[in-house]
Symmetry: none
Subunit: 231 residues, 4 copies
Amino acid sequence: MEDTSSRRRVPAGAKAEQRIRDILRVSRDVFAELGYERATTTEIAQRLGVSEGTVFTYFHGKRELCVRVIEDWYDEIISTLEQGMPHGQPTKAQLEFYVKTHLRLFLIQGTGLCALVLSEGRAKGPGLGEVFLPLQRRYTAPLMDLLARARSNGEIRGDLPLSLLRSAILGPMEHILWDAIARQREVDIEKTARDMVALLWPALQPVDLELEKLRGFYGEVSAALRKAAAD
Amino acid sequence: MEDTSSRRRVPAGAKAEQRIRDILRVSRDVFAELGYERATTTEIAQRLGVSEGTVFTYFHGKRELCVRVIEDWYDEIISTLEQGMPHGQPTKAQLEFYVKTHLRLFLIQGTGLCALVLSEGRAKGPGLGEVFLPLQRRYTAPLMDLLARARSNGEIRGDLPLSLLRSAILGPMEHILWDAIARQREVDIEKTARDMVALLWPALQPVDLELEKLRGFYGEVSAALRKAAAD
Amino acid sequence: MEDTSSRRRVPAGAKAEQRIRDILRVSRDVFAELGYERATTTEIAQRLGVSEGTVFTYFHGKRELCVRVIEDWYDEIISTLEQGMPHGQPTKAQLEFYVKTHLRLFLIQGTGLCALVLSEGRAKGPGLGEVFLPLQRRYTAPLMDLLARARSNGEIRGDLPLSLLRSAILGPMEHILWDAIARQREVDIEKTARDMVALLWPALQPVDLELEKLRGFYGEVSAALRKAAAD
Amino acid sequence: MEDTSSRRRVPAGAKAEQRIRDILRVSRDVFAELGYERATTTEIAQRLGVSEGTVFTYFHGKRELCVRVIEDWYDEIISTLEQGMPHGQPTKAQLEFYVKTHLRLFLIQGTGLCALVLSEGRAKGPGLGEVFLPLQRRYTAPLMDLLARARSNGEIRGDLPLSLLRSAILGPMEHILWDAIARQREVDIEKTARDMVALLWPALQPVDLELEKLRGFYGEVSAALRKAAAD
DNA sequence: GATGAATGAGATTTCATTCAT
DNA sequence: AATGAATGAAATCTCATTCAT
């Protein structure tokens, strides 16, 4: 985006890399806790026990620091998902792994960062938005692959766009996470993951038209009977 | 709460109400676009073409203004949902109405405000959070009612917590909305709503145990066959 | 000072005069309670139950209003002192009247206004100071007259400037008042006035040189004896 | 009291201390000249030739700055009085020292600060008042000690409350100071101190009842004679 | 004459960023 | 390379004063 190379030379070397890691680690905490605007470079420096100037020796500014924090976080998630995915197992088991891992990663520290991405990703002007889109694509890739493979196998329904299926899986997870945060409740990750897949799995099945018709008929008859009884 | 004894009174009357509506309308835009922190009272005043002081004639401060913006937005959504809900129709039709209306309302202007609620609702300290929780409860109430009634009728499954079903419906919608915003794509609301319900409806059905067993058996056999074919 | 006549026409008539009295009465309270800076025209108008503009119909601004408040207050004090002073009685009785009346007038409402005069009277720039000096002179005049008459009669000492005697009488009173305010204590006006005069009366007596010499000698001898006893 | 956890730390070190002294010195001037409300942090920064932010690097806000200014001023006065007091000398000499030192310290710069304390000390709400009361007690302590010792020696009268004697000494001094300020006149400190003690010393003497009776008789006879002569 | 909404200058305070040491 | 004091732009909020109604 910008030619920042001429502005400042960022130190290199083993010690410098450790410093960068430290700054990123603490910055992640601070941004996650406070959000972009309320987080201050002073706070980050204080928690690290270094001077305020030091942060600017390694990063061009608050914005770049924030971008790096989010990039690193995405990288962690993506590599955890990619490496852990049990490709040999049935689709449902893979899906359960995906959901469980997702919930776990986000609940450790992710909600603050998630909020950060959601709110800062939207910011107009010289936004962080451009940076995040490719990251989000990489991050949903394992799920999309899984779904695409299962669909080509006929394991899951082909009558709806894949992006809708993806939303039907990622969406509920995020909603559960927000809810947990908002109400400050504990989440039983294992159980929630199992329930979630139990709930969604039928939705992903290929539509059995005969069955669907029967179900529709049954539903209407039931409703009619109830209504008749009510009158 | 606060000592308002010597504060200037907020004007009342038809013209004042119009002014308040104007300020709220513009503030909604600004908060939605920029988020709480980046939004400035100066910007709001400029867009309105009034002086900065005028905003403070009608609202005690930025925080109160923001709270009012969100309350009004929630009120709109809630009353639209409550008034429009076709109670006489089958559950599936009601659900379709809920999803469609939800998507429509949020796409008009909601995503920015949604982000606002999500990010500011989390803020520590003297946050906006306390204000939002009851609003969020009121806003999900129509859906919860719908689900509860359908469950007591035996129309939808009773083996999972209602909150999970709720997340499975609200979550995908929000995800779709975020996706649409992030990629700046148009959304065909009618089609998306229909697809979404078509997708989720099977998930809400009572579990037909025999069928489920057959499906499980079928799934395993299919997977085994595929695996055998692949080797 | 300024030609304000062309700026605005102040209403006249019986109703207008009542209005002016009301505004001054309330303003006196507000200025006394809050001081010049913290007092607001809004507060004054609200307590009166009139609009903010009305105050400006009768006074050119906050500053003029404050000046008028103080002038009126001085006028009250001065006329009370002038009219009540028992000229026929002995000097000591007159002094007691002066002290008692002074304490009473200031304790009713005066401390706030006294603070106002002390702090605002000092303000640099387009200050209130110029206005107050003649008022203060008029206000100390009865005391100065009393002292001057008594001195010419030989009733009080002539070896020190009158202004010093005046300070020795007014000063303690103000100090007592401030102390009462600061510690929020009640003051028994009658007793305090009597004690004060009992205390100060000897100080005002003509110096009896022979007696003074004896006293000095006595004091030194006493001190020397005490010191000898202590060693 | 306050959440200072994430606030920037106040610099420490020799240079920082010099800076703090500079800020306090200039702030003292500004607060003394203008009073708390009219004094601005901008003015302070400008007189120092530093940016506005710098003041806030060293003090958390205007209020704290003002409190520090007053505390420092009191400390100066108190330590000067405590250290200089000639304890070995006669009470009258000690009193003369107290009065002289007091006048000198206040005339250098004290009147503005005195006004500050008097007017801001009264302020309602989150005032500076609480801070000042203990300071004022410490500041009058040397005088109270002196009076108490002299009274227990029988050197000064015991028929009136000590607080009244204190007011009779401090009050006139303050009055003289105010007068000097208001009229912008020079004060001959040595002479004024000597005169003041000469005036007040008789007032502090133990009451000589016989003498008092004689004086009363003399006064009444004189008055009667004068009256007879006037008729 | 009264009103009271609009104004806008000005005050305090925060904080990312720089740069001399 | 690290420091951390200085900076100054920008933000929120107040309130005396005006003027159209």
